[in-house]
């Protein structure tokens, strides 16, 4: 178990470094950072000066290794724009994004789980058709639009929820609904398909022949098998949400990682962008690891000594 964890951790760091190297290349190839730093009006000498002080005149690989070595020791550099240290900057934004991510995935699962099970056991009936139609509609709605609709309903017409900004828990209700509404359809589809498949297996027939109650058959025998791929997907989605939702944080003016990323990209604040990419990559790999661990706990065939 420990060996597995260690191995996965090494994998996570490797993936993070590879991804950040790719970002590094993309950023240096698509624009001149010195111009970003000095502004369009900067003179040739000023630009040269900036390149020397920030080490931008060195070969890309050297620049990258320098950054990577510092990053591994916890130093992610300073923002070009605010001159703050990048790490505390991102960490200050993380709680907002993390809260939003947890609530959103919670909403997604809370919608997908009962609906997916119901749709599967009433396959082909009205509840199944309804659930699938709702899923199709929700998948077709861009989250900024569903966000705006929510604002119109709860914020403008009913005036029960704050429209924007970050004050208290109420600020999270609408963004979580909008994001949860967006992630739930894929979870629902996967769970429904898994449940339909599982309910047709021989071991469910065995369970029925044992005279078990329908509740037990569905929740114990079927769900435990059908939920395995759903967990993997939910973990990936959760990782995505933890990286920050640029659109929803913009719509609701939430000061999260997504908003920071968006602002930094606009300002060509390279160290911040680079650090966020690294963070997202590491979160992603960690979430996959978490999914593997949960699946291992639920599925004895994956669990190995």
């Amino acid at each position: 178990m420990l060996a597995l964890l260690g191995r996965k951790l090494v994998e996570a760091i490797l993936v993070g470094l590879i991804i950040s190297f790719v970002t590094f290349l993309l950023v240096t190839w698509t624009g001149d950072l010195a111009i970003a730093l000095g502004g369009l009006g900067a003179s040739r000498e000023e630009l040269q000066q900036l390149r020397t002080t920030h080490g931008l005149d060195r070969p890309i690989l050297v620049q990258y290794l320098d950054w990577a070595a510092k990053a591994l020791s916890g130093d992610l550099g300073r923002s070009f724009f605010s001159k703050e240290d990048v790490l505390p900057l991102i960490l200050s934004r993380l709680p907002v994004t993390a809260t939003l991510a947890v609530c959103s995935i919670g909403v997604g699962i809370a919608l997908a789980l009962p609906l997916g099970i119901l749709a599967a056991i009433r396959q082909g009936r009205w509840i199944d058709h309804t659930a699938q139609s709702v899923a199709a509609v929700s998948q077709a709605m861009p989250s900024f639009w569903s966000g705006l609709l929510l604002i119109l309903l709860f914020g403008v017409n009913l005036q029960v929820l704050p429209i924007s900004g970050y004050e208290n828990w109420a600020s999270f209700v609408m963004p979580s609904l909008a994001l949860g509404w967006f992630v739930f359809p894929i979870l629902l589809r996967l769970l429904r398909a898994g449940m339909v498949e599982t309910l047709n297996t021989d071991y469910i027939r065995t369970a029925r022949a044992k005279g078990l109650s329908p509740r037990r058959i569905i929740l114990k025998h079927a769900l435990r098998n059908a939920v395995l791929p759903v967990i993997s997907l939910a973990a990936v989605q959760f990782g995505q949400l933890l990286g920050g939702s640029v659109v929803i944080e913009a719509v609701f003016a939430l000061p999260g990682v997504g908003q920071l990323a968006w602002n930094s990209i606009q300002r060509a604040d390279f160290p911040v962008v680079q650090a966020i990419v690294l963070l997202v990559a590491v979160i992603f790999v960690t979430m996959n690891l978490l999914a593997d661990l949960i699946n291992g706990a639920l599925d004895p065939r994956i669990r190995r000594a």
Binding site: T201, D202, T206, R208, G211, S213, R216, N225, P300
Partner: protein, 601 residues
């Protein structure tokens, strides 16, 4: 009073094509300590009957019956909640696939005890587990305590079936419904499981409803047999009487179709032409009349009434005497021993091992699939390769087909090494026929295109002649012409296997490797295919490497036999000699199991 008394049971399935009459008014009863076997081919309604007793049919199924009395309760009058107390309570079921019939994510202990805990609320878990251990012991499971925390994938097929049986007995049922419980198991394991069932039947005075497609299996295992065809029991009676003196033409044919382990090779099997009817809509008369060799005008009238003959009851408008002569298959048409020529194929000391792939950092394990196997095949000969699952017979076949490069050893075909021959030349010389005609034919190509492909690839015949060559081969393989433009999905299993055989033979190979070619087919279809293979071999002077786990089939077809066990060929020789005087202990055990399976009492 019988434990189970079923009268006029009917099951309808709603399908897109209409209402399918899966079970059409069957009646039977089973006494305490008695085994009643329902025998039939796929689609005969035997499994649907088993499921209908406890109302476990698929969602599109509806059952009706005059009565289904189990232990003096009429199941037809119970509601769903009451039925649940019967399922796994008074009546327990075991199924065909021990590999898939147990839930993979729940422990053996959990799955064994949950039924008892559900049926007898208040039972202490410790008590339930003690009973599980006790029953596992009775079912011949070693170290029963150690099994409870284990999961299904950690047990072998035979062990899983023992667990299933033990699990079924937890609540002390009076009726055990066993749906093909040994079909998925190797022959030695089959014999053990049947012995176990018999022993438990005596110990617990169980009534057993045994569902199977295998007539030879029930001969002595069952006390009474009901033969099902097209949703009806066409004949029933004491097992020995039904098998030795069958009265219904279908039973007669079915028995004639099955290869017999005791018979010498060269016989021609009996066969049934055509396919079972589709049971849609209103059905009149005897449904066997479309395939019956002794059909009369009266057969199309009313459904024949039950008649009684020596020890059996059957539904046919004719007297058993009247059908006697014609019912016996043409076993006389034995083929003359064909000439065996010079050596065609030689495999020497072939070894193949597989590496089990682990993850990036995992150490990989190696499995030795074939170890130093040698065999020779003379031109015009049929070599039967026999072995149980995992014995390495299919791997050896893949080496001979050139689909697998052996780690060690060599294969020479007509004097040249397989490694020296290029892909095309090899494909001209050796062709395969695989087990599963459902997955071995490309579903998006027509029959004609499938059979033509080898000619195009290998550049055989003039392009303008190819269509004619394909037609001739399909005719030869007995596929009706109107099906040449069909897709595999539109064909029956037997028809698909005919296409697979035509595809293999169209390029004129000298050696055909048949890997379990009839294992997925019903007995009556199997006999058609075996007869076809036999005819083609004689007419075209073919050489077969015939791989099968079914000893009777190999006995029927093979001149020589090689027995594989754990990757090695442990015995080989003349078929008569190996079957009658086996030398290796494994061969003896294999034959004993097969024989016991068929004839034990």
């Amino acid at each position: 009073m019988p434990v189970l008394d079923v009268a006029d049971l009917r099951v309808d399935l709603r399908t897109t094509a209409g209402v399918l009459r899966a079970v059409r008014g069957i009646s039977f009863s089973i006494e305490r300590g008695e085994t009643f076997a329902l025998v039939g081919e796929s689609g005969s309604g035997k499994s649907m009957t088993a499921l209908a007793l406890l109302d476990l049919m698929p969602r599109n199924g509806r059952r009706q019956a005059e009565r289904i009395v189990l232990d003096s309760r009429d199941l037809i009058r119970l509601d769903e909640d009451e039925l649940r107390t019967v399922r796994g309570g008074t009546a327990a079921m075991i199924f065909q696939e021990p590999m898939t019939a147990l839930n993979p994510v729940l422990s053996i202990g959990d799955q064994m005890t949950e039924g008892l805990l559900e049926h007898r609320p208040g039972t202490a878990l410790g008590e339930a587990r003690r009973r599980a251990v006790d029953l596992l012991t009775r079912c011949g499971v070693a170290e029963p305590e150690r099994r409870l925390p284990q999961y299904p994938h950690e047990l072998s097929g035979g062990l899983r079936q023992r667990v299933m049986i033990a699990s079924a007995l937890m609540t002390g049922p009076k009726l055990l419904i066993a749906d093909e419980p040994t079909t998925a198991l190797d022959v030695t394991v089959q014999a053990q499981i049947l012995d176990l069932l018999r022993e438990l039947q005596r110990a617990f005075d169980l009534a057993i409803l045994f569902i199977t497609h295998d007539l030879s299996l029930v001969r002595r295992f069952a006390h009474r047999i009901g033969v099902m065809y097209a949703g009806e029991i066409v004949e029933s009676g004491v097992a020995e009487a039904v098998i030795t003196a069958p009265s219904h033409p279908y039973t007669r044919r079915l028995i004639a179709c099955a290869p017999d382990l005791a018979a010498k090779r060269g016989h021609r099997l009996g066969f049934l032409t055509g396919l079972p009817p589709r049971l849609l809509g209103v059905l009149d008369g005897c449904q066997f009349r479309f395939r019956c060799p002794v059909v009369q005008a009266a057969c199309a009238g009313a459904i024949p009434q039950q008649r009684t003959a020596t020890g059996v009851e059957y539904r046919c408008v004719q007297d058993p005497q009247g059908t006697a002569g014609q019912g016996v298959p043409e076993r006389a048409a034995a083929s003359s021993p064909h000439s065996v020529g010079e050596s065609l194929l030689q495999a020497r000391d072939v070894s193949v091992s597989y590496r089990l792939r682990g993850g990036l950092f995992d150490r990989s394990a190696t499995i030795q699939a074939v170890r130093g196997a040698s065999l020779t095949l003379a031109r015009g000969e049929v070599l039967g390769l026999v072995g149980e699952s995992g014995s390495g017979k299919s791997t050896l076949a893949r080496v001979i087909l050139g689909l697998e490069v052996p780690d060690e050893g060599s294969v020479t075909l007509a004097g040249t090494s397989m490694r020296a021959v290029d892909r095309r030349a090899r494909a001209r010389a050796v062709q395969p026929v695989f087990q599963d005609p459902y997955s071995s034919l490309n579903p998006r190509h027509t029959v004609g295109a499938i059979v033509r492909a080898p000619l195009d690839i290998l550049g055989l015949h003039q392009p303008k002649d190819r269509a004619r060559v394909v037609e001739q081969m399909l005719d030869r393989c007995g596929l009706p012409r109107h099906l040449f433009a069909s897709y595999p999905a539109q064909l029956s299993g037997g028809q698909r296997q005919r296409v697979a055989i035509a595809r293999a033979l169209v390029s004129g190979p000298s050696l055909v490797v048949c890997d379990e070619p009839t294992s997925a087919l019903d007995v009556s279809i199997q006999s058609q295919i075996l007869n076809l293979l036999q005819d083609l071999q004689r007419d075209l002077g073919l050489t077969y490497l015939f791989i099968s786990h079914n000893l009777a089939v190999v006995r029927h077809l093979a001149d020589r036999v090689a027995v594989m066990y754990r990757g090695e060929i442990v015995e080989s020789g003349d078929a008569d000699q190996v079957f009658e005087r086996p030398e290796h202990a494994y061969t003896q055990a294999l034959l004993a199991s097969a024989g016991r399976r068929e004839a034990s009492g």
